[in-house]
């Protein structure tokens, strides 16, 4: 009797323990559980799913829309459809045009809304519910850093889209995160010699800066390089992301004594702030005996399109421009143009390249296992992708390549011919030590 009773009691406890364990397992996010598969979302059927997480609303929605177009084109090319685009020019190439590792590429999309919390929720949904094996997207560095951290914890690869802050592959670098796009350090190094040549060493700058990681990073880099030239910085004023009306921040510039306005804004913020700066007559002013100048350190054709006439003659830097005449750029522009009727932006370019690089790394590694993919990407040297010889530096997962300095085209030959490349700054001039920006990659989490 007592034995029975004891047995019965133990059994109940055992049942309760098992129930609690099952409930805890059910409540935990699925990506924290290492199941029978060797890694999260290992593909089991005939397809492999990628997650495209881009801003479809908010200050960077234009870039997001173009990124999504590029991702869709990349999927077509990976699956052997269309003209193949840069798969015809990329070297070395392991892709065969039959999907990735024999599996057809499928995709899911999410709207980051240019907000970190929305982007993380969207990425989490794609990983947990849709089985995405890799997450990619931009266009805000704040968002990229947040999603990169999530992907590291989840054990999936993050191929960053448009993100320009030093922090993405600096202090916030992660083993699972890779960035093809350049950063503010490189922009500063590339722009400074051109600014010196065009505007001289005796200048006083006034910065208007988007108040988040990318804005701070760009302001820091441009100040560092322009002050090294001998420029003075009059003020650096932070503006909220998506402020819309910048007039209250522009009016103090008029009588500040500054003769250069540096707009550390991107997307619609830059279109609005530049348009309003021109409306306030800044470009017609003379200060300290010199013509007033405006500099937009990070430029894109989409922004130039939004700003119209105001962009003419303004200097900035860019990761890529559709007017480049190398074989890779020509192949991509032809393919993208045929699909959509207009050339791709730099955001579209970096996203397209990132998708192909990820797929190629899977083929090289012979597996979708993130640890194998990371190993294949680290130190990978390639060309034929529009930026000349490029390397994914193993120490910080940052791509190193030439940087373009551009100017708003004074005499465009077509509606898309908005940026003129004035200098191709070689990789050697923008390269820095891997530990300069701080941060640790950590280890593979799969």
């Amino acid at each position: 009797m007592s034995d029975d009773s004891k047995f019965s009691t133990l059994s109940r406890r055992g049942f309760l323990k098992a129930s609690m364990a099952a409930a805890a397992a059910g409540a935990a996010p699925t990506f924290f559980i290492n199941n029978a598969n060797a890694y999260v979302n290992a593909p089991t059927g005939g397809t492999v799913t990628l997650g495209f997480n881009v801003p479809q609303t908010g200050a960077y929605a234009d870039e997001g829309a173009d990124e999504l177009r590029a991702y869709k084109l990349a999927v077509k090319h990976l699956n052997g459809e269309g003209d193949g685009g840069m798969m015809n020019t990329m070297k070395p190439l392991s892709l065969k045009g039959n999907g990735v590792l024999g599996k057809k590429v499928a995709y899911v999309t999410g709207d980051t809304q240019t907000k970190s919390d929305a982007a993380r929720a969207s990425a989490k949904r794609m990983i947990e519910k849709d089985g995405a094996l890799m997450i990619t997207g931009g266009s805000s560095s704040g968002v990229a850093i947040a999603v990169q951290g999530l992907c590291q914890d989840a054990g999936v690869i993050f191929m960053a889209g448009l993100t320009h802050s030093n922090d993405t592959t600096g202090k916030d670098r992660r083993k699972h995160g890779f960035r093809h796009f350049f950063n503010t350090e490189m922009s500063g190094a590339a722009l400074a010699p051109i600014l010196e040549k065009e505007f001289g060493k005796d200048r006083t700058a006034y910065h208007l800066t988007a108040d988040y990681t990318w804005g701070w990073s760009q302001e820091g880099s441009i100040k560092k390089y322009t002050e090294a030239l001998g420029w003075q910085t009059k003020a650096a004023v932070r503006t909220p992301l998506g402020a819309g009306d910048f007039s209250q921040y522009i009016t103090p510039v008029l009588n500040s004594g500054a003769d250069v306005l540096v707009l550390n804004h991107y997307g619609k913020d830059m279109v609005n702030s530049l348009t309003q700066a021109v409306q306030f007559g800044l470009r017609d002013k003379q200060v300290n005996g010199k013509d007033f100048q405006i500099v937009v350190p990070l430029f894109s054709r989409l922004m130039a399109q939004g700003a119209g006439e105001n962009i003419k003659g303004i200097y900035g830097s860019t990761n890529w421009n559709w007017s480049l005449t190398d074989e890779g750029s020509k192949a991509f522009v032809k393919s993208f143009g045929a699909e959509y009727g207009f050339p791709p932006s730099q955001a579209a370019h970096t996203c397209y390249v990132q998708t192909l690089l990820y797929a190629n790394a899977c083929e090289m590694a012979g597996t979708f296992n993130p640890c194998g993919v990371i190993e294949a990407l680290e130190g990978f040297k390639f060309e034929g992708m529009g930026n000349g010889p490029t390397e994914y530096r193993a120490e910080d997962h940052q791509c190193f390549k030439d940087v373009l300095v551009v100017r708003g085209n004074q005499n465009p030959t077509s509606q898309f011919d908005l940026l003129e490349v004035v200098n191709v700054t070689p990789r050697s001039a923008v390269e820095y030590a891997p530990d300069m920006l701080g941060g640790q990659l950590g280890s593979c989490n799969a």
Partner: protein, 338 residues
């Protein structure tokens, strides 16, 4: 001195927008007793009247762009330019001013339809229910605009002739550095004219006198045999037109998207509360006052002492005003109080 003048101008033009929206909001609240959370959406609809007019005027013929050889690209040339050359281009250039005349009847119609179709059923409901239904209406209007025009802001520029700045410093014999965009000054003058027009309408017409009487004591006016309700429908239409015109004229300052109304709505409610619930003069005064304060709070000298003050100044002022004068700046005892 120049900087102070610039910030005052800046504040006045911001304040003009706040005052116009708050004026319509107060009219609705003061006459119908309805807390209209859809008022910001009406501002947005006005802005999209301008966008629609611009899109209609620029309906284009697609012509192959021969300068692009990599792929087939097309240039779009508006039919108005093809048909009438420079005259057509000038008509397109004046899309925003033309929109004013289009927006007035459209917004009046929308206002009357909303009042008759929805708002009138909620007169006797609680304010909480009114807020819920008007907020719901705002979301529906936003989503309709989003589905028709997309999520991105649409540039709607001012006519070329007023796209630059006026050298007001030179004009007034002050510093040459004192310049201000023409369109912002036009917006300020436009706001002043509309505000003056609404006040004159309410003060110098019999219709206005009845409305003002109704705002003060609806029951007594009803007992005199006057159909206040019918007049209030027209007042709602008038408030809608004012919000719509504020939206039309704001498009060259800020390219509108479907969310633009919400950005202004919260600020406008603060303006109404600071001005005094139901006080039209209070709404206008508070609109300009808060616009100027916000502008001065953005000055570097102020921000260096109080970082981030530009983001909270409006709410800070609201808190202080409500603590010192709970009825707002020009709110009177017994008005809008049970």
């Amino acid at each position: 001195m120049d900087e102070i003048l610039l910030q005052i101008l800046n504040g006045l033009d911001k304040g003009g927008a706040y005052a116009l929206i708050a004026l319509g909001l107060t009219l609705t609240f003061g006459t119908l007793g309805v807390v209209n959370f859809a008022h910001g959406a009406l501002f947005m609809l006005g802005a999209f009247c301008a966008v629609s007019v611009q899109q209609v005027l620029t309906i284009s013929k697609r012509v192959k762009d021969e300068s692009i050889t990599f792929f087939d690209a097309y240039k779009e040339t508006p039919y108005l330019e093809l048909w009438w050359g420079d005259t057509g281009a000038m008509i397109i250039d004046y899309a925003v001013p033309i929109s004013i005349f289009v927006a007035i009847p459209i917004m009046l119609l929308i206002g009357v339809a909303i009042e008759r179709g929805l708002i009138k059923h909620f007169y006797k409901r609680t304010h909480a229910e009114q807020i819920l239904v008007t907020f719901g209406l705002a979301i529906v209007l936003q989503e309709i605009v989003k589905s028709l025009f997309g999520a991105n802001p649409i540039p709607t520029p001012a006519p070329d002739i007023v796209s630059g700045s006026a050298a007001i410093g030179s004009m007034l014999g002050l510093s040459d550095a004192l310049v201000y965009p023409w369109w912002r000054m036009i917006y300020l003058m436009f706001a002043a004219v509309v505000i003056f027009g609404v006040f004159a309408f309410l003060r110098f017409t019999t219709f206005g006198m009845v409305v003002r009487a109704g705002m003060a004591d609806r029951e007594t006016v009803g007992l005199l045999g006057i159909n206040v309700q019918k007049r209030f429908t027209i007042v709602f239409g008038l408030a809608t037109v004012v919000a719509g015109l504020a939206g039309v004229m704001y498009t060259p300052i800020l390219p509108p998207d479907y969310h633009i109304g919400m950005d202004f709505l919260v600020l406008s409610f603060v303006v109404v509360v600071v001005g005094g619930m139901g006080s039209l003069e209070g709404a206008v005064l508070a609109g300009f006052l808060l616009g100027i304060l916000q502008s001065f709070a953005s000055m570097n000298e102020v921000k260096s002492i109080l970082p981030g003050i530009d983001q909270i100044i409006i709410y800070l002022v609201a808190v202080v005003v409500l603590l010192v004068r709970p009825r707002g700046l020009l709110g009177r005892e017994g008005v809008m109080e049970d």
